[in-house]
């Protein structure tokens, strides 16, 4: 992605998207089903934070935004702090108890609407600083988490979320398994099938 001419202008669409998602009608719709809640709303909220983080990283050198970023990043060497914080946030919101609470309690949902974009922002700031090995570990952990949650929701005999029907839970579980599998293929594709690196001319 080429650096936007004006980061503040690039942030505006992300803020608009957040407002659209937070509007009562779209909130009600996206939280009406477990699959939409977990696999559409949560990723979109994280993506909004990620976009804001990306445009923050491209802010004008020497400006206030760039100085603030440098201050934040001085606590985020190697991207460790950001990824640890983001992992806790994302895993917690995928648990049945918090999916339920977010659906049933507007105050809890407000915390979700604040924390999930912050997690996305943390990933955007941290990912470029992450060593290659650590990136591979994160990819593996994402795949494992998707498969773990998918299997858990699919195999559960009882309804884990009180606010969602059991058919919805099973559908979400199988989608999570598919997402995990597709993510694994997407990550492994280039290293495995990327072809032979170009031979260097002697």
């Amino acid at each position: 992605m080429p650096p936007p001419a004006d980061p503040a202008r690039a942030m505006a669409p992300a803020a608009c998207a957040w407002i659209v998602l937070a509007a009562p009608a779209s909130r009600a719709w996206l939280e009406s089903s477990m699959a939409l809640h977990m696999l559409v709303q949560l990723p979109l909220l994280a993506a909004i934070g990620w976009c804001i983080g990306r445009s923050w990283m491209h802010s004008r050198p020497g400006g206030a935004a760039a100085r603030a970023l440098a201050g934040v990043q001085s606590f985020n060497a190697g991207g460790a702090t950001g990824l640890i914080a983001a992992s806790f946030v994302m895993v917690l919101w995928m648990l049945p108890r918090f999916l339920d609470l977010a659906r049933l309690d507007a105050a809890v949902d407000a915390i979700k609407f604040a924390s999930v974009p912050l997690a996305g922002l943390a990933v955007a700031l941290s990912w470029p600083r992450l060593p290659v090995i650590a990136r591979a570990v994160v990819h593996l952990e994402v795949i494992a988490t998707l498969l773990r949650f998918g299997w858990g929701y699919l195999a559960a005999d009882e309804r884990l979320c009180l606010a969602y029907l059991s058919g919805d839970q099973q559908f979400t579980g199988s989608l999570l398994l598919w997402f995990g599998a597709l993510y694994a293929v997407a990550i492994a594709w280039r290293p495995v099938f990327g072809g032979i690196p170009h031979a260097r001319p002697a």
Binding site: S87, L160, L162
Partner: protein, 217 residues
Amino acid sequence: MRERRRAAWRTAIVATLAFAAGLAVAHSATDGFEAYTLESARRLAALRSPARVPALPLDLADGGRVFLSEVPGRVLLVDFIYTSCPTACVALGSVYAQLQRRLAAEIAAGEVRLVSISFDPARDGPAELRAYRARHGASAAGWELGKPAHAGELQSWLSAFGVVVIPDRLGGYAHNAAVHVVGMDRRLVAILDPQDIDGIVKAARVAAGRTLHAAAR
């Protein structure tokens, strides 16, 4: 170089703090890594810090209006139903008929009373509620049925017990069916699976202070 090393140290400290904070939040939000679902959370809360049941009026199927706190009986076994339910409530109905037989002595002694509350007050009138009880072959002895006296208070009833009712897309409702044990001081002291009849009988006797007698039988 020095600046980089300093950033690495700072990060090590802040990342450790972030990890500790994450664990602390996860620990308290899951009741010490014990309750990952709302259902297990409410059951744990009943055991650890029993809350008072709401002081709300109930219209009884057999006539009259009472507050749940005033229903006679040392222990109340409360469940939430709707009479047109084809699944969970049918099971609950037969469970209550069995409890009525198993706890006949306690009911006769005024120690235990069964209470079924409808969360579908628009469809469930006194006649429907009485028919529901009759359908399970049960007498009226010690089994009260009722519905919230004011439809507007339904949500308060459900929230107080942690019951979540959602439309099941077939014209009915999905709900977390359970038997709620309300003790002498009218606190919710236990929430049990309807299938666990032995457990419910035991919990009712314990809550009524009948442990020794129960053990002797």
